[in-house]
Symmetry: C2
Subunit: 334 residues, 2 copies
Amino acid sequence: MQRIQRGTFQFDTPPTVLGFAGVAGKKEGEGPLGGSFDKIHEDAMLEQASWEKAESTLQQEVVTMALDKAKLPASDVDVMFSGDLLNQCIASTFGLRSLGVPHMGMYGACSTMIEALINASVFVESGAATTCAAVTSSHFCASERQFRTPLGYGGQRTPSAQWTVTGAGAAIVGHGGCISVNAACVGIIDDLGIKDPTNMGAAMAPAAADTIKRFLTDTATAPTDYDLILTGDLGFIGSDLLRQLLERENIDLADRHNDCGMMIFDREAQDVHAGGSGCGCVGSVLCSHIMKQLEQGTLGRILVIATGALMSTTSSWQGESIPGVAHLAELRHC
Amino acid sequence: MQRIQRGTFQFDTPPTVLGFAGVAGKKEGEGPLGGSFDKIHEDAMLEQASWEKAESTLQQEVVTMALDKAKLPASDVDVMFSGDLLNQCIASTFGLRSLGVPHMGMYGACSTMIEALINASVFVESGAATTCAAVTSSHFCASERQFRTPLGYGGQRTPSAQWTVTGAGAAIVGHGGCISVNAACVGIIDDLGIKDPTNMGAAMAPAAADTIKRFLTDTATAPTDYDLILTGDLGFIGSDLLRQLLERENIDLADRHNDCGMMIFDREAQDVHAGGSGCGCVGSVLCSHIMKQLEQGTLGRILVIATGALMSTTSSWQGESIPGVAHLAELRHC
């Protein structure tokens, strides 16, 4: 492995994705990417007793599907990296406990999918592990009642609000697959003082801009070197801000940029305001729609930048602003 | 790096601790290890507006102290791994945001210190980073109001309850120091069905026993090969259970075992019932009292097993049991 700059490094023998899966809820299934998911759940409860248990089930299911595709049993996974948005990451813990796999819990809010993928890749390339897994999830109903208001309250959503995706994504990392993880950039916590918890895109855009700028500078590459620069869940407002912030740095994303939060829902037809969000947004989109294209070679070389808003209800109640973080991975068809 | 078994690996060129610091609150300062901490805060608020902000201040302070001892500026840290017990890990986020360091958030409950140290060590040995940091904290008052009852309510504590440590620990990892990280074992989530949230030691003991057994088996070593086998915060009840569980496996910890939760308070004089707990327990004890002995060589080769109870108030309200996890690192004077 080769350190390029602080937090930016390249893999000498790039680890690869051996299997991947993305699952989603009913609303996500009705969106533009509905045909790409491995499974769509019509029932938000997944036949469980609570939304939180349903989210745990999503994690267990998605990693099992990804392992099936990799033709590996769970007992072949050396270390599993996972996280979610629920307090103390219980979707991960309770979803994955029955698998009996060494487990490292991650917390990077909605940036967790790439955080987990980076760690899984570093463990594999270093030789500490032969096979790792990266898993994340989110659930609209579980998130709404934890972070905002009880669903039954019927609170009005602001135009800048994003819709937490019900979904999960998993990638099995090892050697011998046809999607490689070539480089990574660990995000710096960035805080421009945004305090509006209904405008997460604005809170996360500065971190995304910083990570993209750092990575392009550190690797001496330009947006045109990539077929796609995919952000996690900035949504429509955050994506506009990202482009503005990068233009100030003379970085033009032009037609290379897209955002999982913009892709997963139909903005007009599905009434999601500023787009999708949540750990399961980039998780389910990356590990289905995007990885399928990387596998086929219709995408050759891309950057994925998952963005997270590092706040809690307590920090917002105490008047704090919302710091953001964005982790980047370079993926290639190989 | 050399993978030995699932989740167990050895470092070919062991990374080292370049600087370490442990800070604590008033009650911890009055305990048997009071003379070892780098700083003791008489005021639980640390002159902040809330206990949560005070905990953030502990993280910022302790990593700054560890960097000072390592004679490194924050700008030399490639990646910082940190976590805590607060919802969405806000102690870490808000404590470390001003440092401008690439940041990976961890969540392993009270196992986070060793989880972070393992990741920091893997990043350094792999070449992805030159210098990393591992940081954790906990705060008695912030934890009580988040997990249990408001402090003003004056709830009666059960005999099996542990006292969340107000404290933090930080270790700077790189090459050239005199405490090395030689091997590690990533814990498997273990759940024997304990549902009593006032008996965390019992919930975590099976995971600790499993990790210790796996590591000793994988490395073909015995407890007598180590000067100390230090668990994170099983406390008195959990430590008794650990010894019983290991005796069934014909593993006798004998006089080699101690526990940070048993060491940090005076059981009789300080009325802490089953001992100390919290991310800051193993964090502050390891990164002061223990590392000082490793530095001096009065401890030569030890195992540190940090244990975490992977629950939330929501999971307990929903009738779930409390899964545990335990991550292990082998440290040596070098």
